[in-house]
Amino acid sequence: MEDTVVDIDLKEKEEYIINMGPQHPSTHGVLRFETCLQGETVKYLIPHCGYIHRGIEKMSESLTYPQLIHLTDRMDYLSAHINNEAVSLCVEKAMGVEVSDRVKYIRTILAELTRIASHQLWWSAFGMDLGALTTFFYGLRDREKILDIFEESTGARLLQSFITPGGLMYDVHPNFQKRVTEFVKYFRKKLPEYDQLLTGNIIFRERTQGIGYMSLEDAIDFGVTGPSGRGSGFHCDIRKIEPYSAYPLVKFDEITFDVGDTYHRYLVRMKEMWQSLSIIEQLIDGIPQGPIMLELKAIKAPKGEYYQRVETARGELGVFIVSDGAPSPARIHYRTPNFSNLFIINKISAGHKIADLVAISGSLDLVIPDIDR
């Protein structure tokens, strides 16, 4: 796009501009799409973000490392545990310490549960946007079981701030293993129902196949990671490229397709849920005993610059810390997946109809607070 500062020139007749404004039932967050339409076809689309900018990076400069964990929850709130893990790993890498095996196993299990919960919510909202209103309830009904697991061990359903530099805040509840095993058994029976209800449905396939084609070059140029990028063939799973925590110990597949349309981005997430279930099954029965928290005198990163990347439910999250030896970072910056995923929407939705715009933005799975931080 040549000029993003709004200088729109309505060249042809019958072109008009409307806002899918910041308050909208289908953008799932405060994001404004300035759409230029001709009749019913989208000519181009300018997203305006920043409605929920809270200054998380600046606020973090006056907080110590354990204190700034609770702010990272609130970026991509559907992958709260994974965001916490990213900052904790970066600080531990800076200090040069390694956590115990028990902590690694529990962190990975919580991260995979978070990934499943996030994909369940995405599936619910995607079906609802397309008009199948019952999918909303089925996805959320199953997600409640994961939230119960979180609440029992960490105390909160959505914003847990449980994983801190050095380990975990508390030990998990004794019921943790039993509940997780029960959940895995329960969800393995329910996932095929999701496919029967939506995936194979001819109306759904007609609405999503061939829509929103994203080529591999575009995905790499715009930096679209996560399931959206993997739908176009971009092998970007950080769990395979730079494994962290307990990922070197588990076997799972990285799901990619070569097609790059909305239907295959949908399929990537559905198959990822199966892979996450298998990762949890491999880890849950063998959690070793050990200390929950390292005995550290003070959590201070030595002087220097440190970077750590993790795979959240939406893509690659990178944490960059510049430290000068103080208990607070001098500068912390987050490379968030949703920020890069958002800006490809202009390229892939040009030429489609308005109804397809909803399907495309649903398949990119955007969480707006992550864009604005």
Partner: protein
């Protein structure tokens, strides 16, 4: 209970004997109008309640259950709320057309109810072109929709109304052709004669394959006619345009809403009459014990039971499937439903000629 003819005869007899023919006619029509309006309003309210309860059960939850026992007064509370809302007057809208539009839609559906046979003898008008009359009247409803979109003086309302109009007009073809198949089987357009021709078995069983195909097509096209279910993009496309009834508030919106549910009832009632035997009970060929048992249930329960089944299937469609886009919707009609309908018609005519139906 089993035969309403003597009751109706006595009432009309009383009126014709006490008043002059002109006044008798007028008073009878007024009485009929009040009865139908009352029936319409109450049935409309309880259809909305039924939809909320059914969709709740499909979604693993309980529907309304606080207002009144089991939530039965919920729609009445909603109606009172709508009545108390402010009627917003649009400055640049054509106020005559703007106000007439909801009435056209309601009048069309009330007129259609007048010709449905509810039970033996309980039918307001028994025209000899019954089916044609109903098809013509439901076409009048489209005019209401188009006028509503036009008179709102808003870009999005016009787009929504045009889409909805295109959809309804296309699917009327399919509805008409499916009904034409059944008229070919039964040989008459008069609704009471269609029912009496099913006394030895419902047409959906007697007319085996073509009747089944016609029923499925009628069900799909009927759902699209009423802007319901997976074909509801004209009103649920609240992404950008909220459809032709955006600018309506309060009781006028309630009219559109009610008319949609009652249209659903009318489509279901026609399906019951033509395919499923109207108010006739379910008889197995000569199994007289079973038949006598089935005869015990009054016909009016049979009628409402069958209509309820068809309405349930329509609600099932709405809550399971995603929405179709407008071009896919029209493609479905013109490329799939219409050719199959025509083939079905040829098949039906052939079967009727050769008397190969039961």
């Amino acid at each position: 209970m089993y035969d309403f003819t003597p009751i109706i005869e006595s009432i009309s007899g009383y009126f014709t004997s006490t008043f002059s023919p002109l006044w008798a006619g007028v008073l009878l029509m007024v009485l009929l109008g009040i009865a139908i309006l009352g029936f319409y309003a109450i049935l409309g309210l309880y259809l909305v309640y039924a939809e909320r309860k059914i969709c709740a059960r499909m979604q693993n939850r309980i529907g309304p259950n606080r207002v009144g026992p089991m939530g039965l007064f919920q729609t009445i509370a909603d109606l009172i709320k709508l009545l108390m809302k402010e009627l917003i007057y649009i400055r640049n809208a054509d106020s005559i057309l703007f106000n007439i539009a909801p009435f056209i839609v309601i009048v069309a559906s009330i007129m259609a109810i007048g010709s449905i046979p509810f039970a033996k003898g309980l039918q307001a008008i028994d025209l000899n072109i019954g089916v044609l009359y109903i098809l013509a009247i439901s076409s009048m409803g489209v005019i209401g929709v188009l006028i509503a979109g036009w008179a709102s003086n808003s870009k999005y309302s016009v787009i929504g109304a045009m889409r909805s109009g295109a959809q309804v007009i296309s699917y009327e073809l399919s509805v008409g052709l499916a009904l034409l198949c059944m008229i070919t089987f039964s040989g008459s357009m008069q609704l009471s004669e269609i029912i009496s021709s099913q006394e030895d078995g419902w047409w959906i069983f007697k007319g085996h394959i073509p009747a089944l195909i016609a029923f499925v097509i009628y069900q799909i096209a009927g759902t699209a006619e009423t802007n319901r279910g997976p074909f509801d993009l004209a009103e649920a496309e609240s992404e950008l345009t909220a459809g032709f009834h955006t600018e309506y508030s309060g009781i006028k919106f309630a009219f559109f809403f009610l008319a949609e549910y009652m249209n659903m009832f009318i489509i279901a009632a026609i399906a019951t009459t033509v395919f499923l035997g109207g108010w006739l009970p379910f008889h197995i060929y000569n199994f007289s014990v079973f038949n006598n048992l089935m005869d015990l249930i009054p016909p009016i329960f049979w009628f409402f039971g069958k209509t309820a089944f068809v309405i349930y299937v329509m609600m099932w469609f709405k809550w399971t499937f995603p929405r179709l886009r407008i071009d896919q919707l029209l493609a479905l009609e013109w490329k799939y439903l219409l050719p199959i309908n025509l083939i079905n018609l040829i098949l039906t005519s052939f079967l009727t000629l050769m008397q190969w139906h039961f």
